[in-house]
Homo-oligomer: 425 residues x 2
């Protein structure tokens, strides 16, 4: 497909989604949830086709020398297809985000004013390797009454195409309007760029993927973007910290899962407790295979206890490793810690470990991040942990949605005013 | 000032605002409101300087042959400066939008989770002729704990500069951080373009002005924009309408103020009542000097009663006149009316006049607009009328803020989690 055809395809899909969005916004909860269940059943019924399409993608990826971890993300089998179906069924059970009366009052002039949640309209999701995002994103959009325009990665093109067709046909058979799920088949970069031009046709663009994808969307999109992702998170051990809690928290925040955005990437330690805290904590981290990037003071303490470190540079403070690496910086007091976090952090998840309440409150108030923690691991930044239901992503912007966001972030509201002939003086 | 200097100035001001925003976010309500009152007093104390600076702008504008209505927007006298001061004092009386606990609960693992409102950080406002917006925008930003980066129109450059200096100095004397209000002096287009590049330094950009300014911001800004403004609003008179209410509503919605975004621009009339409704209503509109742009059926009814019309074209359906003009279209039933509104409207304010409840509910549910009305004039779309306090604008986008928006739209939130050493399994 040439560039012009790719752009035309994107416009056609987006306009079909726009056309579908009106009727979709008028569906009942029962119709939407029924469609989700029908989509789940269709995934299971077509699991063989989906796995076969995935095998084509897997062959090509293997031939291209794709590394094992990416191949694992790409791979679908019957059990993974079943998990996608189950996720759609769980989505159907969640509360309806539409039609919620957020506010209602009668004005002095007798007008009854209410503010009611409504769908955004058309939601575009741009993502990378994992084909399960196709089902996940389509389901979340339909649950919230939005038409979905999906654009997956080239590596999963066959898988995504088959999944999207199965889902679309099942949704339409269940009574939802044609065009309610559209997958952009072209994996040409021009297709993604065209998507970002469609202000007025697409209401919001959500990139789900690496930092490069997200930055490209933020910089180039005329469609509003919900920025997700990058987490250069810190754990700060204050002079008053319970050192056993601090050790458990940094080990959990760093080691629980290395590749997630809520993982700790820098340990800040107060000079007053560096000697008391670091040896045992670093020994455990080192034993778990973490490379320690230490500033001079931290390196000196580590060396005195026979723990190997590598020198930290300015770059380390700003790096989201997503790897078995941890930067370490010794600071003098909570002010310096807060300053460091606000300077190098990505406004994602930031933790203090301290028994001193004033230090905790200073950190919680003054650190600018979506989630701030006192005596808790940063690993809790997650829609499920926060009780939000199906998480779409973790926003690091401040507009519209911040932190873990779910179905409510795919809604807007309208003011509805009912009267008896009122005119404004 | 050359283009490079203009861009450098913008970056300097934005970075100073960013630096100020940290401390500003930590101020108390009393400090912020005290600063607003000090700013009001300073405006009154420097009214002479402000009026003198304005006279320079007025001279230049007169010399450039600026039309009277624009000159009136630009003009400041002592009484208008006093009104600016009073507006700041009223702002100080409004509830604090910060520190609101939007949600609080204890998770099963004992973590206390809360969601608390916080400032966005740095808010940029780009506006046109009226110099009072300088005080208004600065006040709204500081009230909500945000640093303000202001960029006014070239016509009001001297007025804006003097007002901004008076406000900044008063705010700083009252204890707010230096740089909390920055006015971009350069009125070079490059300055505005630079502002739109500063993703990461500026958190949101609010254009207040004409459709051209707003479109330019939406298309070019990397900083998220709250889109305001264009209102191509409709009043639809259903077959079941109380025709006296309908007449009063269309006259109010069209004639109350011609230049506002909530003014009606198209009258849709059901064919069933065209003959009964139009003659009296059109006679009154014509008497008030409104030019009637009629489709064939409406023109025929008008002509039969000796009321002059001009032919409406497709362009009329999409036009926000902001002038003594009204388009008229006869439709067959509520479905056609809804379709017309959703096709040509700008998602601002839309009204149905009907006694039939089903017709009202169909219109309210299916019309996609920030404010939908049954038996009420569209003139009520206004922050004050909705009880929101100081209105910043009327958003026609769906993300973050929709319809009339006020201080709450200049806040975000953070999740605050307090625990006792919890780690995630």
């Amino acid at each position: 497909m040439g560039e012009q055809e790719a752009r035309a395809e994107v416009r056609r899909i987006a306009e079909a989604a726009r056309a579908a969005s009106g009727a979709l916004g008028q569906t009942t909860r029962a119709e939407r949830d029924g469609a989700l269940r029908a989509m789940a059943a269709a995934l299971r019924a077509h699991a063989g086709d989906i796995v076969a399409a995935n095998e084509v993608d897997m062959e090509a990826a293997r031939a291209a020398g794709t590394k094992e971890s990416l191949l694992d993300r790409l791979m679908l089998n019957v059990s993974r297809v079943d998990a996608m179906a189950t996720a759609l069924e769980e989505l159907a059970e969640l509360p309806d985000p539409l039609g919620l009366v957020q506010e209602a009052r009668t004005l002095d002039n007798g007008i009854e004013l209410s503010r009611v949640s409504v769908p955004l309209g058309v939601v575009a999701v741009v993502y990378e390797a994992r084909p399960n995002v196709t089902a996940d994103a389509a389901g979340i959009c339909l649950k919230s009454g939005n038409a979905a325009v999906l654009r997956g990665g080239s590596m999963a093109a066959h898988s995504n195409q088959t999944i999207a067709e199965v889902l679309h046909d099942a949704a339409v058979a269940a009574g939802l309007p044609a065009g309610c799920i559209g997958l952009v088949a072209s994996t040409d970069r021009a297709a993604a760029d065209e998507l970002m031009q469609l202000h007025g046709t697409i209401d919001v663009l959500i990139p789900r993927g690496g930092a490069g994808l997200i930055r490209h969307c933020v910089e180039c999109s005329k469609v509003p973007v919900i920025e997700t992702g990058t987490g250069n998170c810190h754990v700060y051990v204050h002079a008053s910290a319970d050192l056993e809690k601090a050790r458990a928290i940094i080990v959990n925040a760093k080691c629980r899962r290395l590749g997630v955005c809520n993982a700790a990437e820098t340990l800040l330690v107060d000079a007053a407790v560096a000697e008391a805290f670091l040896p045992a904590a670093l020994a455990e981290l080192a034993e778990r295979g973490i490379t320690l990037h230490a500033d001079e003071r931290a390196a000196a303490v580590a060396a005195a206890h026979g723990i190997a470190t590598v020198p930290a540079t300015e770059d380390d403070w700003a790096t989201e490793y997503l790897a078995p690496d941890l930067a370490m910086h010794v600071v003098d007091g909570v002010d310096e810690a807060i300053e460091h976090v606000n300077r190098y952090g990505t406004k994602h998840s930031e933790a203090i470990v301290a028994e001193d309440a004033a230090a905790c409150e200073a950190f919680l108030a003054r650190v600018d991040a979506a989630a701030v923690y006192a005596n808790v691991s940063t690993a809790f930044t997650d829609g499920g942990q926060f009780g939000l239901g199906a998480e779409i992503g973790i926003s690091t912007q401040k507009l519209h949605a911040r932190g873990p966001f779910a179905l409510a972030a795919l809604t807007s509201y309208k003011y509805v005013l009912r009267g008896s002939g009122q005119v404004r003086p």
